[in-house]
Every structure is written in C-alpha cells, then in structure tokens.
Amino acid sequence: MSGVRVLVGTRKGAFILTADAKREQWEVSGPHFAGWELYHIKGSPADPNRLYASQSSGWFGQIIQRSDDGGKTWLQPGTPPGEPTSTPEGMPLAESNKFVYDTSAETGKPLTTHQFYDGTPHPWEFKRVWHLEPSLTDPDTVYAGVEDAALFRSTDGGQTWQELAGLRGHGTGSSWQPGAGGMCLHSIILDPSDPARIFIAISAAGAFRTDDAGKTWQPINRGLHSLYIPNPTAEVGHCVHHIAMSPSRPGVLFMQKHWDVLRSDDAGDSWHEISGNLPTDFGFVIDVHAHEPETIYVVPIKSDSEHYVPDGKLRVYRSRTGGNEWEALTKGLPQKDCYVNVLRDAMAVDSLDSCGVYFGTTGGQVYASADAGDSWAPIVRDLPAVLSVEVQVLK
C-alpha cells in the first residue's frame, strides 16, 4: 500500500512524519540534527530514499546531510576527492560542504559586491543553504539556493558544489539588495518538460529564468508592481516570497510576492495580479494542486509588519479558478486566538489521487489535509518553529 513521508525542517532539528495513504495515523521520527536549524529537506524524485538536508548554525556554519535510506541514517557527503572515505578509526571522512562563489572570468563575470540595506556595495558572503532541489532524473544531481543569493549545483550526490555563476553575473547582480530575511535564493523550480529550463526566485531581487541549463539567465519580473522600492516596476528589486508551478502544466507560474499574488501564463515573461477577494495579499507560501493546475493555495498573512494570520484565524485560501476568486478553508484549523506565520517553504502537496496538502507554522504545528484542503487535522502540534515542509509519496 502506498504512503506518504513528510519532511519537516524546523529551527531546532528535522522531523520525519509517515503515514499510509489514508493519511490519518502518523508516526513521528526526530528530532534529527537536534538543536540545529534545518532550512530544508527534500527527497529525490528519481530515488525516494535519497534525501538531502540543509543543516546550519550561526555558530558552526553550513553542513549538507544526505540519506540513502529514506532518513533512517545520514552522512555528510563531502569526502575530499582522492582521499580515503573513512579514518583509520573507521569514522566517516566527510567535511562540511564548501560553497565558494565563482568569480572567474571564464564561467561568470567576476562579481564581488551587491547592495547592502543602505545601498552601499557589500561583499558577497556565503551564509547558508535555504533550499535544496534534487534533479527530476538523477539522484546525484541537486541544486542549492543559498544566502547571499546564488545557485549552486552538485552532480556527485552533494560532495562538491559548483556555482552556476551566470545568474549572479547576468548583469543586475551588483544591484540586488537583501530583504528582511537576508538576501536568499529560496525557490528553485525544474521544468519537467524542458531539462534546460529552471526558474528561481530571490528576496529581494525577483524571479529569474534560464533556458540553457543555467549558463545564462534573465529577470522575469514584468508586471510586478512593488510600492516599497524606488521604481515600483523595476526590472529587479522585487521581494518575491515564493513561486510555484504544477508539473502537469509547465510554464504557468504562481507567485506570492511581499504583497500581491500573481500568475504568469508565459513562463514568467509577464505577470498579472490574481489577489481578488483575499483578505490580505501579503503572505509567504503558495502551492498548486497536484492534479488540478487551476487550483492554488495561499495562506494570507496580516501585513509586512505583523507576520501572523489576520483576525486570529488560521485560514488557507483556495482558488479553483486559477486566482481572483478565493474561498477560505477553515475546517479543523484554529479560528480564534491564533497568531502564527507560515513561512515560504512550509507548504507542500502530495500526488495521491485525493491530493494531500500540508503546511507547517511558526508555532510548531504541521497540518495535513487528505481532501485537497476541505478539512484539516494537525499531525503534530508542538514542534519547534517550522521552516519547511516537503512530502513524498511512497509506493
């Protein structure tokens, strides 16, 4: 019988939640990497037992963890090339992973500064991996979106990482500025219909696309209107919070911006607003139903200065019309005295016949719906603040 595995990253470790296809009875494993920040954990579509995790700490920096058995055991895949794979005492010979910005003239324009909050040039400094996106076809290939914003790729299972420097070097990089959460590359979408096409998004630069597997990039922000920047329709500088795409309909993208929910029907060449009747169009997450590409989900947040749900009510909003017309989904969710946030990578959908939707809150709850959002129940209520949620369907 098939089942699901939900991968949860929190401020203080990772948790793995499993259930059969009914998605009613859950087993909880964790905390893994207790005490560390787990910005993201994601499984390979090509091999569900291959998981990648971003483990980080302000004190000790960035570590990449990999599991080859669905999260039962983990290893640091950074074994130095040509060196033995274990110490004489038999311990794994791994190192914390290196993410070194490529400033060589051959592979990218040497780019050493971006704009700081006050507009002054600031050196590019690696801080952490926000998002890991495994290849759709090769378990050993994985992309990493990092802070300060850049895209890295590993083709050896996370042992070594190379920057796709054409993104930072495409022309506007020196004008990018950090958002409140830092200057992070937080969204990576691989196009199942075109292996050369990748979409990414950066706070607070905007969305970008490559059509040649990462060599060259272009900003795709036409139609975005951001009142909080000097030129509201600038080519870059928009605080895109998250982007989503249904694998069943490549090229149609949905975006939750700082303010505004938008869609694009031409692979990001142009966007238009679909906020419609949402109570507020500020928010972080956005996702698309696995089988109905016009059904989308957001969690409206009160404002950019009050990062919690409005009116003390936790409501997921669903549109079945590709935007503009939204309905509040409340069954099973707290409707009074609730003041949590749902962060940008903390929602996921599964691909079972009745689409499951999952999200985690800064209050440590992970909610699941096995009926596309009609009703919800908490899987767990008291985890550390949730940073990310992903889900895998297991055959």
């Binding site: 560390w36 004190w59 000790f60 570590i63 950074g78 110490t87 311990m91 791994a94």
Partner: protein
C-alpha cells in the same frame, strides 16, 4: 598529547564524547592544533574556521588557562600548560542572547 574541548554540537557532529586528545607535530599553535583536529575529524572542517579564508568563525572563541586566545595570531605558541596536556584548549560558542 593536546586536549581540546569542543562545544556539544561539534561533539555530536564528530561523534565523540567528552574531550578530544590529539598528537600535534612541531610547534603547538592554534593553527597546528586545529589542523590536527580537522585531519582527524574532517566533518568539522568549516565549522570552526572558514574553509576558504581559514578565519575563525565569528561566533566562536578560543580560551586556554583562563585567557582569551581568540584574537591571538594563529601561529603564536600556545601556553606551556596546553602543550604539556595539563590544560585543555577550549573552543566555545559565543553567547548571543540571554
């Protein structure tokens, strides 16, 4: 034998309990001790010193014999008591917050 005390998260990462004991060849300095530590526990590379610059990570500090060595030259000799093994080199996480 050089004794090194690591913060608990790094002990977990290196899969060690308690103090680490290292043989250090040549002069005993912060650099030579950390080199020996990282050679024996490669999973710690990058967690104490930046992998590229070799600089101490900003939220970590080094102490020995009651003295703060965080801002000493990495090539300065460590105190005799550390060299003899009488005292450990402490790697501490700076306290950021209350």
């Amino acid at each position: 034998m050089i004794r090194v005390e690591l913060p608990s998260h790094l002990r977990t990462l290196a899969k060690v309990d308690g103090e680490v004991q290292l043989d250090v060849q040549g002069q005993v300095t912060l650099r030579s001790v950390l080199d020996a530590l990282e050679a024996r526990y490669p999973m710690l590379r990058g967690t104490i010193r930046d992998q590229v610059s070799g600089q101490r990570r900003p939220f970590l500090r080094f102490f020995a014999c009651g003295e703060d060595l965080s801002h000493e030259s990495p090539d300065a000799p460590l105190p005799d008591a550390v060299v003899s093994g009488a005292e450990p080199l402490l790697v501490l996480g700076a306290i950021a917050g209350g």
